[in-house]
Amino acid sequence: MVRPAGSGRAGGETTKQRGPREGAATRPASRGARAERLAPYVLVAPAVLIIVLLRLWPLVLGVNFSFTGDGELNGTPVGLSNYLELAADPLFHTSLRNVGLLVLLLPVAVAIPGLLATFIYLRVPGHRVYRSVYFFPAVLSPVIVGAIFNLMLGFDGPLNAALGAIGVGPVDWLGDPGISMFTVVGVHVWATFGMALVVFLAGFSTLDTSLLDAARVDGASLRQVIWHVIIPSLTRTIQFVFVTTMIGMLTSMFGLLFVMTSGGPEGSTYLPEYYIWHQQGQMNRPALASAASTVLFVVMLVVGLLQITLLRRTGRQD
């Protein structure tokens, strides 16, 4: 594939310093050499500029912003008053409580694809088909998923019809404040478990098959194989799935909330990201929204670090 690069291009600079490593020792003064020395910076400059200006700088700006006021107080420092307002806002409480719910449901959201991947790896009949079928909702936009499930979960939609057939009364999936959050999480899991499944399968492909064979020869049951062979050898993959699934739950459910519930009924499906959007766009409270953003960032950092230490510790016990 690699043609002898630039062989036809016998320019004047053939006898330049050897190798691409910009040796600090050789310092030719010619203009070409200087251009060469600057080349790496030229290559990274646009990317660095964009990332610094539009990702890192806004983070600083946002934290700063959260200590200023909204409306008439725009730009004036107000100390912690935005944070105090958040602490008193029942809607923000709900959104944090829902984050707690997501954290509690996280093991389920990881175990389902993990178990499915195990069966696919153990060659359940039809395993080839399952992999591609399970993965496909993962490429759909939350808007499409949400729209489809608005139809599916309607009062006289397919799901209630199926439940009715086995004698379970129609459920108001999105209208009942006690149920709606679970419904949205369920739809999110439906849409994303294929992603985690594929990651698990990639982890399985690095698994040492001789271990599995040895366990089989020793007559280990399926449960023992999963518990003593598969899980310990996949700690890294499991960690990765835990962290990415958590991040996914905390940052990519906006589309579903936007299409399916708009935060309702009675604010029961609020998540911080929806709260931020609502305060910024609908209520014109950007500074308050910034404070919520900062809280979300801290929550994510804490949850992420906790997970990693927790998983490390359990990993060591094995």
Partner: protein
């Protein structure tokens, strides 16, 4: 081992049921899209009696999906092209060239990876508004590039790390400039990774909701996903047309999936085994 074989078959039943649950919602939607309004009200479950394209046509022209589709297409094409260009340039420099500050720059890109959009959306919107970029194509393109560049750089860097330094050395001895190495060696050798990252970036941008919602407030600039959502109110009493709109928005992605499933899966898993 009979016990294990039995276990496999026992597992196969719920797995098949789950596969059905994965496929059915889309089949149901496609079926509804083919029905007339009357058919839908009378019986929404029965298979449609004929393939009817009126609803699709209504959604495409009447509801303005064509416009939204074009908006998405323009923005996503430019954003992905820019992402691949900037990502491969930076990935090449960060993996194969040694220069002062390279590790700090790489760490900075990684940090960008861990900042969720929700955390910076307020100040970012303000920066964009102050620069007059809100509600313009370049504004949304730039917002997408900023959002997905860290990920693109990360994957391109880890791909280019697998290319032996000797190849670059040889090209340099042959008289190539750094840019020449990038153009003649790194771009061609990067094609598999560029393809895989490009598909993922395409999916991310195409499927995005929040960024385009913030960056493109006026109706004529709506992207496809925001457009689909706006159909909801407009066609609340005409579900088949609404379902058609959903189908139109889903089809490009499903096509991509059917043909490029392998690359999508590779991209998704890249971070789990490398890095």
């Amino acid at each position: 081992m009979p016990g294990r074989r039995l276990a496999r078959w026992v597992a196969a039943v719920p797995m098949a049921a789950l596969a059905l649950a994965t496929i059915y919602p889309l089949v149901f939607t496609a079926n509804v899209a083919m029905k007339t309004r009357r058919d839908y009200i009378l019986d929404r479950f029965s298979p449609t009696d004929s393939l009817r394209w009126d609803n699709i046509a209504e959604a495409w022209t009447g509801a303005g999906m064509a416009r939204y589709f074009a908006n998405s297409f323009i923005v996503v094409s430019f954003a992905v092209a820019l992402l691949l260009l900037l990502g491969s340039m930076a990935g090449f420099a960060l993996s194969q060239l040694r220069f002062r500050g390279s590790s700090v720059i790489f760490l900075g890109c990684l940090a960008g990876l861990f900042i969720p959009f929700q955390v910076i959306m307020v100040p970012l919107t303000r920066i964009m508004a102050d620069s007059g970029l809100v509600d313009t194509y370049p504004g949304l393109i730039l917002a997408y590039v900023a959002q997905f560049l860290p990920f693109t750089i990360f994957l391109m860097t880890s791909h280019y790390r697998t290319i032996p330094a000797e190849i670059v050395d040889a090209a340099r001895i042959d008289g190539n400039t750094v840019y020449g190495v990038y153009r003649r060696i790194m771009l061609p050798l990067g094609v598999p990774a560029l393809l895989s990252v490009g598909i993922l970036d395409t999916l991310f941008c195409w499927n995005d909701v929040l960024i385009s919602l913030l960056m493109m407030p006026s109706p004529e600039h709506r992207t496809l996903m925001i457009g689909v959502n706006s159909l909801r109110g407009q066609y609340s009493d005409d579900i088949p047309t609404f379902a058609s709109g959903v189908l139109i928005a889903a089809i490009p992605v499903l096509m991509l999936y059917l043909f490029l499933q392998r690359q999508i899966a590779d991209g998704v898993t890249a971070g789990s085994t490398k890095g």
